[in-house]
């Protein structure tokens, strides 16, 4: 047993509110306000986790988001979440936490055997072992290694909780609610600015790091609380607690995650577990504070070795003694202050070891008064123990030469509190691109040049003085704000850089990156092997690449590298920090875009009718379309065949509301369409429609559809369902950028019209019964004719168009009347056996006719490939006209559209390759592929459209459609694309 709950104290906990929780199934009790780390430390636990690579025992190092070691799995079942720092997990009643990366138990972990093979697991282990000649070994070992590697395991169940995304704008965003952040926010808000203040902790100033003093005569802590209360009362301030600003992006825009309900067993109804904020400020003030650095010495990863300020925080904030016999090892005065604070809380502190020759002299009297032994000019050269630190070997240290002297003492300790100085939290500032600058006083990187909309204040800017931080931050908030009066404890001596303590005889591992198990030796190995740039060193050793993003390891690593390169830390520089500052859950990024909200459905007005009549719906982009209306007992193929036959033999109706529809209007509309389409539209008579094809600039086919001339200055363009939005953007771009002189307006009317295609020999009779005011005679309404009429009083547009090859009409009516129109036509067609058909039958009918669609307009085919070359006008200019004649698009061996007939009756599959070999095991070179397969009721066998090299010269040839994935190899005969009614007689039937 080590740590314990102190009889009193704990600024953040409420002692009369006990909270029950479990760790590895064992019940414990903490207090409201505890973190999982503080509550477990209070039970005497030091062993929290096993390390990533060597499975070494690890304890709590920090009291914040920088925690590299005490990673646990929170909650069970669908809410299980691995790799969470126990230091950030707020305790709640019933919290169930588990240790991870161990088997069978935390205390006895068989993979700890990795430690014996440590010489193997050096930097670059994977590259060295599995690349080059031994590459194939990876496939042999991958399974075993993947199981042994990694940390906790995520749940496989769906996350039951709600996540949200939201956006907030402000004039000033302040990140961090410490003394500096609060000052900046208050000044900015009182100056009238719209302020957002966010902080990752539940309460402000939780990380004031043992700083004491007064502000405007008030004790610091009381002042921070009063300031927070004042801020919350201002209408122009939004305070976001438990909110981590994780990324700073151009704009500026800041990504932040609010942990709304992570501190509860379950979110209350409607409440999200987390909320992702996109914050859009005009100005950002980063008051992100600083993080204490560990010291690098042999055995520095033993449970019980923790940051001195974290030890202080556990005692002061949570009323927890981190050990029964604390030894402090520090190279700067904050370690001494921590020792005194611990002692003031009633924690036994045995000694303070300081490498500076007169280290901590300012605190000598105070330490003596607490009976704390002061050992200046000395270092802890090695910590020893099994599953926790037991002893600290103290040696004399010559700061001038950096050499170890004689052993001065071996101190018994169960908590070795270390401080290597303070590292400003510059992650967000670094993300903006300013190269961080090495500060020779602080011996850490501070933000480099910042853009004009970004200000760093307080410890984040390297300013560790309370007085100066509050003054600078206040002025950053508002130039004219009154600066508070601050008193503080005078700063002590300057820090002695102590980057790595030489190991005494017997050595010992010295960890730099505690989460990724990277040692000082690993860094030197990387240097010897040529990975000398910090960016290379980082990638080779994986230093700083774990979930903690090198918060505690970065500066020490750069210094070890500098030593190896015989350069200064400033010369070595630091790696660029990248988002996120702390891990972001995928749920927060997805927000509500899950389930039905992942991609909202577009529905036609006939949707409910389709469902009521047995339609199986299929997604077509965002649209839902009936695929097939299966009748009792029918197989899919039977239903498709029945629907297709109905169109060929009687009459069928399909919902084509999903087609894109664009209103093209203006005096120059004829000229505009002439330029957009390969064929002419200028001379199209009013009341007629024409099939048009448009190319991209590069001569490839972009989209097709019919366009109807409604008046001299007005056309209704239809596009494919898939390209509706793309075509509109294309047209708008042309009008805005290329031809701003053309007086044309284009407007999407896709949602203005509901539309159906009524097809088949009885289509005319059907429509005559419901649209009496249109003369359906072939002279009055010829093929491609367009007429206005009325259907049961509804205004409709009728165009005689055919995709199926049968006599057919498209009928358009205002969107909300679509269902009424559909029902009326169904009723009118009943005597003729009108059959609703879906996209499958629609496909069968057009494949029989050799009409191209999406699978053929694949962004690679030209007009000539599709057999449409003769459509292109030679008299006028149009988009793509020049480049369609590029040599590559004119090559003789291009794949062109062909029809395919299964010789054996075996079905064809889309994507099957066309080959000449009869042997499926040796199919040979692909000469083309199947684009659109169908089983043709009209021809009584499987057919397809395909693209085949020199296909037009090969009609009658026999090839094979090979599909190794579906294990098919079907003999096919090549034909012209149109397999049914090539003369087109049925259009007039």
């Amino acid at each position: 047993m080590s740590g314990y709950r102190l009889p009193q104290g704990g600024a953040l906990i409420t002692r009369d509110m006990p909270v029950g929780f479990t760790f590895d199934g064992r019940p414990h009790t903490g207090f409201a306000g505890d973190t999982l780390a503080s509550a477990l430390l209070a039970t005497g636990r030091r062993l929290f986790a096993r390390s990533f690579k060597y499975h070494r025992p690890r304890g709590v190092v920090s009291a914040g988001p920088e925690e590299p070691c005490a990673l646990v799995t929170l909650r069970d079942g669908a809410r299980r979440e691995p790799n969470m720092p126990a230091t950030m997990a707020e305790l709640y009643e019933g919290l169930s936490a588990h240790s991870q990366n161990r088997w069978p138990s935390l205390a006895l972990d068989v993979n700890a055997i990795n430690g014996l093979f440590a010489p193997l697991f050096v930097a670059g282990f994977y590259y060295k072992t599995f690349m080059g000649p031994t590459r194939k070994a990876w496939h042999l070992y991958e399974h075993v290694i993947r199981r042994a590697a990694g940390m906790g395991a995520a749940t496989l169940e769906a996350d039951p909780d709600r996540y949200e995304r939201a956006t907030a704008h402000c004039d000033v965003l302040v990140v961090g609610a410490g003394a500096a952040g609060l000052s900046a926010a208050l000044a900015a808000a009182r100056g009238g600015a719209r302020v957002i203040l966010c902080d990752e902790h539940p309460a402000p100033a939780q990380r004031l790091s043992g700083v004491t003093g007064t502000v405007n005569g008030q004790p610091l802590l009381a002042w921070t609380r009063a300031t927070m209360t004042a801020l919350r009362a201002l209408p122009n301030v939004r305070v976001l607690t438990r909110t981590t600003a994780y990324g700073l992006y151009d704009g500026p825009t800041v990504g932040a995650v609010e942990r709304v309900a992570d501190h509860k067993a379950e979110p209350v109804a409607g409440e999200p577990r987390q909320r992702h904020w996109t914050l859009v400020p005009r100005h950002i003030i980063l008051a992100t504070g600083a993080i204490e650095r560990p010291l690098v010495f042999a055995g520095n990863d033993l449970p019980g070795v923790m940051l001195a300020d974290a030890a202080r925080s556990y005692a002061e904030n949570y009323g927890v003694a981190p050990g029964r016999q604390v030894v402090v090892f520090t190279n700067n005065d904050s370690g001494h202050r921590a020792a005194l604070a611990l002692a003031a809380c009633g924690v036994t502190v045995a000694a303070v070891i300081d490498p500076r020759p007169d280290g901590g002299v300012a605190h000598a009297e105070a330490l003596a008064a607490q009976d704390i032994r002061r050992l200046p000019g000395a270092v802890v050269a090695r910590a020893t123990g099994g599953k926790g630190v037991k002893r600290a070997e103290v040696h004399a240290y010559d700061a001038a030469t950096g050499t170890l002297g004689r052993r001065l003492a071996v101190l018994d300790t169960d908590c070795l509190a270390v401080s290597g100085g303070w590292t400003p939290t510059i992650h967000l500032a670094s993300q903006t691109g300013g190269k961080p600058v090495f500060d020779e006083t602080l011996h850490a990187f501070v933000p480099g040049p910042t853009p004009p909309w970004l200000t760093c204040v307080g410890a984040a800017a390297g300013d560790l003085s309370l007085d100066s931080a509050i003054a600078t931050a206040t002025r950053a908030g508002s130039e004219s704000a009154p600066v508070p009066t601050v008193t503080e404890e005078p700063d002590g001596q300057t820090l002695l850089p102590l980057w790595e303590v030489p190991a005494p005889r017997g050595g010992g591992k010295k960890f730099v990156d505690l989460q990724h198990d990277v040692t000082a030796d690993d860094l030197r190995l990387a240097h010897r092997e040529g990975y000398r740039s910090v960016e290379h060193m980082k990638r080779y050793t994986t230093l700083g690449m774990a979930g903690d993003q090198g918060k505690t390891s970065n500066v020490n690593a750069m210094a070890v590298m500098a030593e190896a390169r015989a350069a200064t830390v400033a010369e070595v520089g630091t790696t660029r920090f990248r988002p996120p500052y702390t891990p972001v859950s995928l749920g927060a990024l997805a927000g509500r875009a899950v389930g039905a909200h992942f991609r909202p459905e577009r529905r036609t007005p006939m949707h409910d009718w389709h469902l009521a009549h047995g339609a199986e719906m299929i997604q077509a982009g965002p649209w839902l379309r009936p695929r097939v209306y299966r009748r009792g007992g029918e197989s899919l193929d039977q239903a498709i065949a029945r629907e297709a036959r109905a169109v060929r033999e009687a009459v069928g109706m399909v919902d084509v509301t999903t087609l894109g529809k664009i209103d093209v209007q203006g005096p120059d509309a004829p000229e505009f369409l002439n330029r957009v389409y390969v064929n002419g539209f200028g001379k199209l008579p009013v009341g007629k429609a024409r099939y048009g094809v448009m190319l991209r600039d590069d001569g490839i086919v972009y989209d097709d559809g019919t366009t109807w001339r409604l008046s001299e200055t007005r056309y209704l363009m239809t596009t494919t369902t898939a390209r509706a939005a793309g075509v509109l953007s294309h047209l708008e771009n042309l009008l805005a950028v290329r031809w701003p002189d053309l007086r044309v307006q284009v407007t999407s009317v896709s949602d203005q019209w509901a539309s159906v295609a009524v097809a088949g020999p009885r289509s005319r009779e059907t429509l005559r019964r419901v649209i009496p005011d249109i003369d359906f005679g072939d002279d009055a309404l010829p093929l491609m004719g367009v007429r206005e009429g009325s259907l049961n009083g509804l205004p409709v547009l009728v165009a005689r168009l055919s995709f199926s090859g049968e006599r057919a009409y498209e009928v358009y009516c205002p969107f909300r009347h679509g269902d009424a129109m559909w029902r009326a036509i169904m009723a009118a067609g009943e005597p003729f056996g009108i059959t609703p058909y879906g996209t499958e039958a629609l496909g069968v009918l057009r494949i029989e006719k050799g009409h191209v669609s999406g699978p053929e307009l694949d962004g690679r085919t030209t007009l000539d490939d599709l057999g449409l070359g003769r459509m292109a006008s030679s008299k006028k200019a149009f988009i793509g006209k020049v480049l369609r004649h590029r040599p590559a698009l004119m090559a003789a061996d291009r794949k062109v559209l062909v029809g395919l007939i299964s010789e054996t009756g075996e079905p064809l599959t889309g994507g099957a390759h066309l080959v000449t070999s009869a042997d499926p095991a040796a199919p040979g070179r692909s000469e083309g592929h199947v684009t659109s397969p169908a089983v043709s009721p009209a021809l009584g066998r499987p057919i397809a459209l395909g693209l085949l090299e020199r296909g037009r010269d090969r009609h009658g040839d026999v090839l094979y459609a090979t599909d190794p994935l579906r294990q098919r190899h079907v003999k096919v005969r090549i034909t012209a694309p149109c397999l049914f009614d090539p003369e087109g007689d049925r259009l007039h039937a």
């Binding site: 704008h169 909202p600 577009r602 203005q752």
Partner: protein
């Protein structure tokens, strides 16, 4: 939960009227006279006049709801009937803005988007035309085919607002 009302809007008509640089002056003169207003709104604003809403969505482009349209020569303006193309809802109450913050990334502060603002933006996945009628009253127009999906999104988003 703070108060929020989501009510369907059913404008009798919805038209887009657009002109060209050389016809815009003539077009606006005809619209002013027909609609009985002294001036048309600038881009990004709308005007409520005699039961009609006139929103300037883009340079040379207006959206008119419930307006009695004058006859406009085809060489001067393009009029597109969108009466069926949109589904409209009105959100009102203190929770309207927090709800919209969950879908819209524009600044909804009255200083940036005052009553009278008319903007086209995205709300979650949906293209919306947003008219802010009052501090806590927003009219939203979405494509008709997305009507049900948008309503489902609103019903879900209000849980968190």
């Amino acid at each position: 939960m703070p108060e929020l009302t989501i009510a369907p809007l059913a404008p009798a008509s919805l038209h887009q009227v657009a002109g060209w640089p050389d016809t815009f002056t003539a077009l606006t003169a005809r619209l002013r006279a027909a609609l009985g207003v002294d001036a048309l709104p600038v881009v990004g604003r709308f005007l409520a006049a005699g039961g009609a809403d006139i929103a300037a969505l883009a340079p040379g482009r207006f959206l008119l709801a419930n307006a009695a349209l004058p006859a406009l020569p085809a060489e001067e303006a393009a009029v597109t009937d969108l009466s069926h193309a949109r589904t409209a809802v009105r959100l009102s109450g203190p929770a309207a803005r927090p709800l919209l913050e969950r879908g819209i990334s524009l600044d909804l502060d009255p200083a940036a988007l005052p009553p009278g603002a008319a903007v086209q933006t995205l709300c979650a996945h949906f293209d919306v035309t947003l008219l802010r009628r009052d501090l806590m009253v927003f009219d939203l127009y979405v494509p008709a085919s997305y009507g049900e999906a948008f309503r489902a999104w609103l019903d879900d988003a209000r849980l968190g607002a």
